[in-house]
Amino acid sequence: MFPEIPMLNYDVVVIGGGPAGMAAAVRAKELGLNVLLLDENDYLGGILPQCIHPGFGLHYFREELTGPEFAARFAKRLVELGVEYRTAARVMEIRNYSDLEKVVIFTSPSGAYQAWAKAVIYAAGARERHAFEIGIVGDRVAGVYTAGEAQTLMDIYGIMPGREVVIVGSGDVGLIMARRFALEGAKVKAVIELMPYPGGLARNVMILRDFDIPLYLSHKVVEVRGRGRVERVKVVKVDENLNEIPGSEFWIEADTLIISAGLVPSVKKLTAIGVEIDPSTGGPVVNDRLETSVPGVFVAGNALLINDLVDYVAEQGELAAEGAKEFIENGGIESRKWIWVEKGENVRLLAPHRLSGERDVYLYLRVARPMEDIELRIPEVGKRVKLSLATPAEMLRVKLKAEEVRNAEKLTVEVVRE
């Protein structure tokens, strides 16, 4: 198609070398597929090499590892298996010529390439929401970073982004950055959380007590001021409808503002080929092989939906690889019929969206609000699973057996009080 661009040939091309992509490439290779893994970074691992805190791999390796340690284990398996991969290889475009003919166009230090493949596994992760997306106004000053940018500076390059820090968002990422700054001797002046409850896991909320960091719930940062560099930020209290309460404003002096206001699946290259997106996850609509609405294009990890556990991310990568194998062998993923899964009471987002009923499947979901003593129910098939606690911060994962759902027309998933 592009005679001037060197052509490569594979069964499957995996885009993204984070845990999702590495797990997918390893599994694809184990299944006998000819696979190429591409990542635009200079190193494999995605965001893991910068996540130097422990908390990774408890399910997958039954051991608590740091991010770089988790990544290194996967990278080692990748190399041992002889998986072909390229770093510093940026995917510019995916083209979908037919079900079994796809082209992934990428650039690398040695030039541009077109990689032909029968299936594509897209594992490009997520992007962080930035200050303007959460309505912060004011001066355009230095010293405003997303949590991931600050983490990269500190934990990859060894550069301290600032000394007096305000953090927006009390999710796990925000809390972990609060600890990193405090450990390195910075003064964390406040963590500001919009919701009336902290967004992170209890073990991470404990960080605030460890370092005497004030947490402002039901507050938001609305304005940044400074000459050249952040000097102060304006905080305002919000009511239960998240509306600002007039007269409640106050200023905090700081030289650095860290935005940790959530991640958004990065799907531009997918929407460009017509992949259907679920507005609630921000990722593609998928079936129980994690295949998108474009046949032969699979998705895993944070590009599918935002995961808080790397273990689930790796699991999704493996599942996508198994899907790719089936797709290539049978020329498609077939089902007698698709059973659509819908969100019911207190379910904010959910994947996969349609099931074949022919295989066991994990549902991944998040609730809309925190709730104790709860049950996950699927009324159509009389399924009930007891759960002790659910918070929006923690993704729930529930296994459905093929025989449980096979005869359903559709499924509604709800999380309700027992």
Partner: protein, 116 residues
């Protein structure tokens, strides 16, 4: 004098609210836990809190400018600032293997979590 500590237990996802009461350095009561593991954790947390500490250390001649490190075991919380000062003084030279002990501080091993 009695001191009361309130914790959200982090040992399992149930997250019980545990209270530990301490009088003259002695534990006189623990309430709110559902199981002995949580009780043990809360007592330890009230009397001798420990954390695994992580940081990065500059490295010369590696692919990245730093190597990430962690303590091989949890460190008493009050010693952490001192440990961080020690880590801030370290400088390494490539090659560093992941898992390699790169330094030792008061008998606590500092382990590389990233190679260089």
């Amino acid at each position: 004098m009695t001191k009361t500590y309130r914790f959200t237990c982090i040992v399992c996802p149930l997250g019980c609210s545990i209270e530990v009461r301490i009088e003259d350095g002695k534990v006189i009561g623990v309430t709110g836990h559902t199981c002995p593991r949580g009780q043990e954790w809360a007592v330890e947390e009230a009397t001798n809190p420990r954390r695994v500490v992580m940081s990065v250390v500059p490295v010369e001649g590696g692919a990245l400018p730093t190597v990430s490190v962690k303590t091989a075991e949890p460190v008493p919380k009050e010693l952490i600032p001192e440990l961080m000062k020690f880590l801030a003084g370290l400088k390494l030279k490539a090659p560093v293997e992941i898992g390699e002990v790169v330094a030792e501080w008061n008998g606590i091993k500092i382990v590389a979590t990233r190679g260089a």
